[in-house]
């Protein structure tokens, strides 16, 4: 009988709390009253990576931690802090990965240099080809 009950029990999922039950942070889902400040905050939040769901920005994510990050960003912008200073604060804690807006560093400069090199190369090749045609 006990074995049968256990067998039946196996068909029911025991719900497990995977997330907290706390209310969201004050400014997680509330916009700032000043539209200019809210715009600044929104622009920053769209270029900060959610650490829980890493292909989303914190503006797109409903993870509680993303809400906490949004709240902190909004509160700091309301207090007059510069968005880029907040980004620098986050990068100081989580590294460049947290920001979707790449900086030029000793590691990332090829990202910026390669397109310029390729465009120059293409321009030179095209000029040679058209130049030759012009000669004929």
């Amino acid at each position: 009988m006990r074995a049968f009950l256990l067998f039946l029990l196996a068909f029911f999922a025991a719900p497990v709390a995977a997330q907290d039950t706390m209310p969201p942070a004050p400014f997680a889902y509330r916009q700032l009253d000043d539209p200019a400040q809210e715009e600044k905050a929104q622009a920053l939040m769209e270029t900060v990576r959610c650490l829980k769901c890493q292909s989303q920005s914190i503006a797109d994510s409903d993870a509680p931690m993303a809400g906490d990050m949004r709240s902190q960003i909004r509160m700091r912008i309301a207090a007059g802090e510069d968005p880029e200073a907040i980004r620098a604060w986050l990068v100081e804690r989580y590294g460049d990965y947290v920001s979707y807006s790449p900086r030029i560093t000793s590691l990332t400069w090829p990202l910026f240099a390669i397109p310029v090199v390729l465009m120059t190369l293409a321009f030179l090749l095209l000029r040679r080809r058209f130049g030759r045609k012009g000669d004929v």
């Binding site: 497990v16 709390a17 995977a18 997330q19 907290d20 039950t21 706390m22 942070a25 004050p26 650490l51 829980k52 890493q54 509680p64 931690m65 906490d68 990050m69 709240s71 902190q72 986050l90 990068v91 100081e92 804690r93 989580y94 590294g95 990965y97 947290v98």
Partner: protein, 182 residues
């Protein structure tokens, strides 16, 4: 055979070669997925200023000053709603039994939930702060629960362990604490 036919014969295989390279890349990506953990960039830096209220009535509150008495200790970031946090509690108990002081920060948690979590899994903490908006968690570059930080006697972050501490990792944590003591 002229030069041009030779080169065009090579070019014939080029799309297949590119496709094969793509397959290799895709299979490699499936077999060895990229590291998804975001390590803190705060190693070697002091803890930020913070002052958290007590999470449970029977343990005092937690502030930065509690880490600056010359003794290295652990800072464990946990939550009652986090399953791996319960899984690592025997390891924390083992570390506590070995004489390691452990301070805890409960992330987005209610007093009654933390109390029942500790009643179920044991309480290795000497102090527990309550961080309702992940403020300290963001301040130290932690991106989830559980995480354990080794803090030296001056309040400087020396090591970050991401995820639960497995039984075989306890000696490694003790070693990191010893390094922090030097």
């Amino acid at each position: 055979m002229s030069e041009s036919t030779k080169s065009s014969r090579w070019a014939l295989w080029l799309p297949l070669a590119i496709f094969a390279a793509f397959v290799v890349l895709a299979v490699a990506g499936l077999l060895w997925p990229a590291q998804r953990e975001v390590a803190s960039a705060m190693i070697g830096k002091p803890l930020p200023e913070f002052n958290l209220p007590a999470a449970v009535p029977d343990r005092p509150s937690l502030s930065k000053a509690d880490f600056a008495d010359g003794k290295p200790r652990l800072l464990n970031i946990f939550a009652s709603w986090c399953i791996p946090c319960a899984v690592e509690s025997p390891q924390l108990a083992q570390l506590s039994a070995a004489g390691v002081e452990i301070h805890g920060i409960a992330i987005r948690d209610r007093t009654e939930d933390v109390s029942s979590f500790l009643a179920r899994n044991g309480n290795p903490f000497s102090r527990i702060g309550r961080d309702d908006v992940s403020q300290v968690q963001l301040g130290i570059g932690s991106s989830g629960v559980p995480e354990t930080f080794v803090i030296d006697g001056k309040g400087v972050i020396r090591y970050q362990h991401i995820g639960d501490i497995r039984p075989e990792q306890v000696p490694m944590i003790l070693e990191k604490l010893q390094e922090a003591a030097q």
